[in-house]
Amino acid sequence: MVKSRPFSFSKVMLVLGLLFLYLPMVVLIVYSFNASRLVSVWAGFSTHWYGELFRDQQILSAVWMSLKIAFYSASMAVCLGTLCAFVMTRFKRIRGRTLLSSMVSAPLVMPEVITGLSLLLLFVQMAQTIGWPVDRGMATIWIAHTTFCSAYVAVVVSARLREVDRSIEEAAMDLGCTPLKTFFVITLPVIAPALVSGWLLAFTLSLDDLVIASFVSGPGATTLPMVVFSSVRMGVSPKINALAALIILAVSLIAFIAWYLMWRAEKRRQGEA
């Protein structure tokens, strides 16, 4: 290894960069316990705003709506994304493959306003031609989220598929396994961790989306980001600070558990070797 100094420029930048990433979130958490309604004045410690938050019916029903949509979108995106990943890593010479791979990677960088607008126009056109969807709402948000989340799942899963040892699959096929059975018995268990992380990624992406959901949603379906956005537009609100603190806490907890499981798996692997 090339010699590395204890205080190199890059290490200082890493620490500063992480501070830049985390300080605003720490500020949010601290101010969520502020008794005052004003952000600038610290009026003592209070959990008043958390109580307020849990009495807000609009926020609670939006949370439930967002969780439902995120669950369904992530599940469907894992199915579609895995199929895409399979085509891109295993089917080298199928017709239409280039088009598929462009359509998969494009949503990764497509500006959200364009995706949202285009899907809304599609749903309006569909309602005119085939009579569905009559009302935009959960189903249309589910379709929109599934489409853009599949792209992320495909990236995660194809990275894992490329590392899989093909010889075991080939052995199973040689011994008379059908491709379908080979997939479920051999390939699926091996790529399971990638499916889990793809699902979690899709879940958080769907939970977080404001722009696309605003375009394709109807009056019946209001997701959490839509409620937060309309409240935040008016200025800083302590209730949203409390909500933010809870979201940051939940994500950190899940990330810590994921890290612990990965760390344990790594340790076990090292123990075996």
Partner: protein, 309 residues
């Protein structure tokens, strides 16, 4: 011909394999064709239409009356975009702000990725998690955090006044500065990760060889590390620049009345003015501007995905 070469059961299996391949390919292909490609065709179509007070609020482009099929294409929306300086200013503003924010991300993100790639294996896992964690929490809430920090009565102004650096609050919120800061903050993980993945694969023997041959570390960096991490830099920059050009939430929450960005203009055209054809043509022009960066990104992505092992 295959029948003569293969016994019947084997033929059966080949058929099964072909059928499975078609299904595996067909499902995602049809889904994306319907929900990704077709919508763009519709945007293109409606951008040639004109707005009317109806549901949906645009004139049909293709009409089929008395057995005659007629196409009404009108370029008035595009001419309108060219004639009104607001839209040109908005495109220019978006590209400028996105470019500066990408540069800021690169200047902060590259050294971060470099330090991460040099850390011990266990530390790398922790650092990776720390960089990714913010991007899993709500994007909206992370942008919102800056509203409380940058405001006239906000934390930063109070801190600076307490330190005696300034006498009256600096106007930071609702300026282009706040928008650049917000974009750089929100998209920094997307810059760090591709560069890190690239640097971690860098062959250390090249650096050792350079050092053995008497290269100073800074020269080694410019001659070897930087050129070899080009793919990571390009991928990271595209992941920041392209969404930043179309960004709506950040200019809406942190920007001011003089912050002109195309995502915000499109949103207002669609939701406030209900002019769907103009919103569609704005989207088409934005897409045309982003075509080169998107194709560049796609090439990299495809190469990455097709690589074996």
């Amino acid at each position: 011909m295959a029948n003569k070469l293969m016994p019947a059961p084997l033929m059966e299996r080949v058929r099964a394999v072909v059928f499975h391949r078609r299904v595996v390919f067909g499902i995602p292909f049809l889904w994306l064709l319907l929900f990704f490609l077709l919508p763009f065709a519709l945007v293109l179509k409606i951008s040639f239409s004109s707005a009317v007070m109806a549901i949906p609020p645009y004139e049909p482009v293709f009409t089929f009356v008395d057995n005659t099929f007629s196409v009404m294409v009108n370029f008035s929306n595009y001419l309108f975009l060219l004639s009104d300086s607001l839209y040109i200013a908005a495109y220019w503003g978006s590209v400028k702000i996105a470019f500066i924010a990408t540069l800021v991300c690169l200047l902060i993100g590259y050294p971060m990725a470099y330090a991460m790639a040099r850390a011990s294996a266990r530390m790398q896992l922790v650092l990776l998690l720390m960089v990714m964690l913010p991007s899993w929490t709500s994007f909206l809430i992370r942008v919102y955090a800056w509203m409380g920090i940058l405001g006239n009565q906000g934390l930063l102004n109070n801190l600076l006044m307490w330190l005696g650096a300034i006498n009256e609050p600096l106007k930071m919120l609702n300026t282009n500065f706040a928008v650049v800061l917000g974009i750089a903050y929100a998209y920094l993980p997307f810059m760090v990760l591709p560069i890190y993945t690239n640097l971690v694969k860098l062959d250390v023997r090249l650096l050792e060889a350079a050092s053995d041959l008497g290269c100073r570390s800074l020269t080694t960096f410019w001659a070897i590390t930087l050129p070899l991490s080009r793919a990571g830099i390009v991928a990271g920059s595209m992941l920041v620049f392209i969404p930043a050009v179309g960004e709506f939430v950040i200019p809406e929450l942190l920007g001011g009345p003089d912050t002109l960005m195309i995502g915000k203009v499109l949103w207002e055209e669609f939701f406030n003015n209900r002019d769907w054809p103009v919103a569609s043509s704005l989207a088409i022009v934005m897409l045309a501007l982003l075509l080169i960066p998107i194709v560049l990104f796609h090439r990299l992505q495809a190469r990455e995905m097709e690589k074996d092992g």
